[in-house]
């Protein structure tokens, strides 16, 4: 216990020192994808001052004299990538329950479960994710046996103890097959529970004066659902089948005050026009092209393309191993391009669009005044053979080390093992 306290004190001190230092950085000779009307700027110089983007210009003349110069050597510079759906930082080793805070099947609560309470910014997954250019993670709780999994949050990947940006960002709800299973066995049961819960939340606290329990929710859960039920907080709904999505669209039209987004949506392309009209954003996994269940029969690699062409606000996530492999969102985006999405739209789907869905102001673009989450790449960021050379979060240069790189370095060059490897800790 003492050791871990000490470690976090040191980390806190480091973070504090970092934040207190005013830094000016000029990234020169860059191909800057800005995520704004400015588009992609060749021969760009991106100037970062005190944690914010100060300027994007095409001349290297007159740089601030105090600026640290980073030559991008013609490489891409992008806003920090945002993973719009993950469990990163909630779990260290998925199969080890003691290290896994994603779900709580034995809890008395549902919506009251705040995933942020379980976040460990120093989990090994966090730097592993950052090294691939992901600077912000949206983190959702996992359902423990209720359509309501709890509330998710947004953090940066700095490993700072202050890295949570929004600790109460959305309520996560499962409908479709998963929701049916946890609501008692059918889709109607899941919808009944959702409607009853909204009613409980909207009538909180009045109805709880007479009764301790609502129709669907406990007092605590009803209170926690209040902001979302009043449209002040995002409700993120997981569903795939076209008919489920259509029900959600109709529901949102009946309750226009609600702020709803969809995650999953493998058959979303079949109701793309309706989603566009209803302004319901969708977070899809571009890898998903199999009828993995009977609610995904029409899954296609062109889902993303068709949604974007229909005008749906579309973001990409890697929903496979969402705790340890959220970093693969870049490969997902590259594959979306292979299946018809434009390069610009694919980059927007992992920067600008998730910032919009989760209300992250000043994030997701490179423009004056934006938060300086910036990544310098050694190639096209959506190419599997590319990687970041530099990552900045709010203007702070980030370490490019993780536990994985330390292990790698220990065993690189096995022939040098003239002493046991346990003594080998640095070059």
């Amino acid at each position: 216990m003492r050791l871990s306290t000490l470690t976090s004190l040191i980390a806190g001190a480091l973070a504090f020192t970092g934040a207190a230092t005013a830094q000016t950085v000029a990234i020169t000779n860059a191909k800057a994808w800005t995520g704004t009307a400015q588009g992609t700027v060749d021969n760009a110089t991106v100037i970062i001052v005190d944690g914010e983007i100060a300027e994007v210009r095409t001349s290297e003349n007159g740089l601030p004299p105090e600026a640290e110069i980073i030559d991008a050597e013609g490489g891409w510079v992008t806003p920090g990538i945002i993973s719009p759906f993950s469990r990163t930082g909630l779990v260290e080793v998925s199969a080890e329950d003691s290290t896994n805070d994603t779900s709580a099947g034995g809890s008395d609560y549902s919506i009251a479960l705040k995933a942020a309470d379980g976040f460990n910014p120093m989990a090994t997954t966090v730097p592993v994710t950052r090294l691939e250019g992901v600077t912000r993670i949206v983190v959702a709780p996992r359902s423990g046996g209720d359509i309501f999994a709890g509330r998710g949050f947004v953090a940066d990947t700095s490993t700072s103890q202050d890295s949570i940006i929004d600790d109460d960002a959305f309520v996560f709800v499962r409908l479709g097959e998963g929701g049916a299973g946890s609501a008692g066995g059918s889709r109607p049961a899941a919808w009944a529970r959702l409607r009853a819960a909204l009613s409980d939340a909207r009538t909180f606290p009045a109805r709880f004066l007479a009764h301790n329990e609502g129709d669907a929710l406990t007092r605590v859960d009803a209170q926690a659902f209040g902001p979302a039920a009043r449209g002040q907080q995002l409700i993120l709904v997981e569903a795939h089948r076209a008919s489920d999505l259509k029900r959600i669209i109709e529901f949102s039209l009946e309750a226009p005050q609600l702020n709803i987004s969809i995650v999953g949506g493998d058959e979303a392309w079949m109701v793309a026009e309706d989603l566009a009209d209803a302004r319901i954003p969708v977070i899809v996994d571009p890898f998903q092209n199999l009828p993995a269940s009977f609610e995904q029969l029409a899954a296609t690699a062109e889902n993303a393309k068709r949604l974007i062409e229909a005008g749906v606000i579309t973001s990409f996530a890697h929903l496979g191993d969402d705790s340890h492999q959220a970093r693969l969102v870049l490969q997902s985006a590259g594959n979306a391009v292979a299946n018809g999405v434009t390069h610009d739209d694919a980059l927007a789907a992992i920067t600008v669009v998730p910032a919009l869905i989760f209300g992250l102001e000043g994030v997701g673009t490179i423009e004056p005044g934006a938060v300086a989450d910036v990544v310098v790449w050694d190639g096209d960021p959506l190419e599997v053979m590319s990687a970041p050379s530099h990552v900045f979060i709010a203007g702070q240069p980030q370490s490019m080390e993780s536990r994985q790189t330390r292990l790698r370095d220990r065993y690189l060059g096995l022939e040098s093992g003239d002493v046991p490897f346990a003594f080998k800790r640095s070059e």
Partner: protein
């Protein structure tokens, strides 16, 4: 590898051709005449009925060709004739053949078809409904008697997605719950009504084994029992393997004695027949094993019982003992970057594959996933680039061996496929561009010279029975 001839091989008849010299007492039969007749056991009771689809003589020219053995040709050509590779080069003498089809592959890449040596397609098919979990006979820790081919559903839509990813052959394995999970089978990735019609002709059988967490979790404390059955620990795992190998050794001794001396044949034992097949070198061992220290102990155990490990699977820590693996001649079938989902996968690094390659050991990119199998070329690309960043210089031409020749070796089919060499099966992929790019896709896939998949021709895109008449039938996948 020790190789004892079993001498029972040839006969196709099932069994129980009566034994002339039989003796009720068993044991010594020196008083009887031994007429040399022996009961034979059919080693191939579910024989391959695969026949290639119709093919033409095809010349693919103008492409960047990776031959799969480390060679690269710019502006290269590949000639396919009678289902085989007839020639590979920059200048090919065209055969006198009116039916010759020429494909201008300028700007495209041509490679051997990808071979995934770790797939559960068919045994864990889509949709993954409860009725479809046919990949693991978890009824006991030693189920060497079960065969994955008996659990394969040929209508798994995953086969067609893998085909669109350039997969021409794959090993379908039982799952990893058991110490001995059963036999694996190697398939050509062709649509078929029966499993037999997909079986790779003359491919040896394989045996799936598993180290570590899975067996002890499933049996030791599976299903809420505490304690459950053995194994409960890694100690129990190894005791379980060794007990089974000891039984197999004993069974083999009885079989050998019977072949030599006649008398009563040993009763058939499907479990031990599989293990004896390993001891005789006919069946190749593929072992799920993550941790370096466990792999090292398995190598000792294999040596002790006189067999070898064809490939460790997942092998997340192979980079820690790549020198030992090179020395033992054991392949490692790996992911590019999976890690952390359980304790034995905690030490995963992105450079595992190139580090194994650099040590001179056999590196294989595998999927274990119906999603991953669709883009194994990208997995190789990630590993290649991560290796290069730490100074491990490997060419794309060499790296392609991770995807075709090395898995072919691990499956014992490298004499007939795995590289673009004259006389081998024409299992060939034309890629829209550099297959080490996110943006390239398999455009045309040939298996034994037949065009089995064409991205630009819906008529050459197989649709399984399951998807017929469903939303999404025949859509872009």
């Amino acid at each position: 590898m020790k190789h004892f001839s079993w001498a029972l091989v040839a006969a196709a008849s099932v069994l129980l051709a009566a034994c002339g010299g039989g003796s009720d007492t068993g044991g010594g039969n020196e008083s009887n005449e031994d007429d040399g007749e022996r009961i034979t056991i059919n080693k191939d009771p579910f024989p391959s009925t695969y026949t290639p689809m119709d093919s033409s003589t095809v010349l693919i020219r103008g492409a960047t060709v990776l031959d799969g053995e480390g060679g690269i040709l710019e502006n290269g050509a590949v000639l396919i004739q009678n289902g085989d590779i007839a020639a590979v080069g920059t200048e090919i003498t065209l055969p006198d053949d009116d039916t010759l089809i020429e494909i201008d592959a300028s700007g495209k890449w041509v490679t051997p078809g990808i071979i995934d040596n770790h797939s559960h397609l068919g045994v864990y098919p889509s949709p993954s409904v409860s009725a479809h979990g046919d990949g693991n006979e978890i009824s006991g820790p030693v189920t060497a008697e079960v065969w994955s081919e008996h659990g394969i559903w040929p209508q798994d839509p995953g086969f067609t997605r893998a085909l669109a990813g350039g997969i021409t052959s794959m090993q379908i394995l039982p799952g990893s719950a058991n110490l001995f999970g059963g036999r694996g089978v190697t398939l050509k990735n062709v649509p078929g009504r029966t499993v037999q019609s997909m079986k790779f002709p003359d491919a040896p059988y394989t045996l799936k084994m598993a180290c570590g967490e899975n067996p002890k979790r499933v049996y030791g404390y599976g299903g809420g029992r505490f304690p459950g059955g053995a194994p409960y620990s890694r100690m129990g795992n190894v005791a379980g393997y060794r007990t089974a190998w000891a039984e197999a050794t004993e069974y083999k001794r009885k079989l050998d004695a019977y072949l030599e001396d006649g008398g009563d044949p040993p009763a058939r034992n499907l479990e031990l027949e599989t293990l004896v097949g390993v001891l005789e070198g006919d069946i190749l061992v593929h072992m799920h094993c993550y941790r370096a220290d466990e792999m090292a102990q398995i190598l000792d155990m294999a040596e002790d019982f006189g067999y070898s490990v064809a490939s460790f699977h997942h092998a997340v820590e192979s980079y820690k003992i790549a020198d030992l693996l090179a020395e033992a001649g054991a392949c490692s079938a790996m992911w590019a970057d999976w890690w952390g989902f359980k304790m034995e996968a905690y030490d995963g690094v992105r450079e595992n594959i190139p580090m194994v390659h650099a040590a001179g050991a056999c590196a294989i990119v595998h999927s274990d996933s119906d999603i991953g199998i669709q883009r194994l070329n990208q997995e190789a690309a990630k590993a290649l680039s991560d290796g290069r960043r730490v100074g491990i210089e490997i060419s794309k031409a060499d790296a392609w061996q991770w995807l075709s020749l090395n898995p072919a070796k691990s499956l014992g089919i490298d004499e007939t496929t795995g590289s673009l060499v004259e006389g081998k099966d024409a299992d060939v992929v034309i890629w829209s561009g550099d297959p080490f790019s996110s943006y390239s896709q398999a455009e045309q896939v040939f298996i034994d010279g037949a065009l089995v998949y064409d991205r630009n021709d819906p008529a050459r895109q197989p649709v399984t029975d399951f998807e017929l008449g469903q939303p999404g039938e025949g859509d872009a996948k």
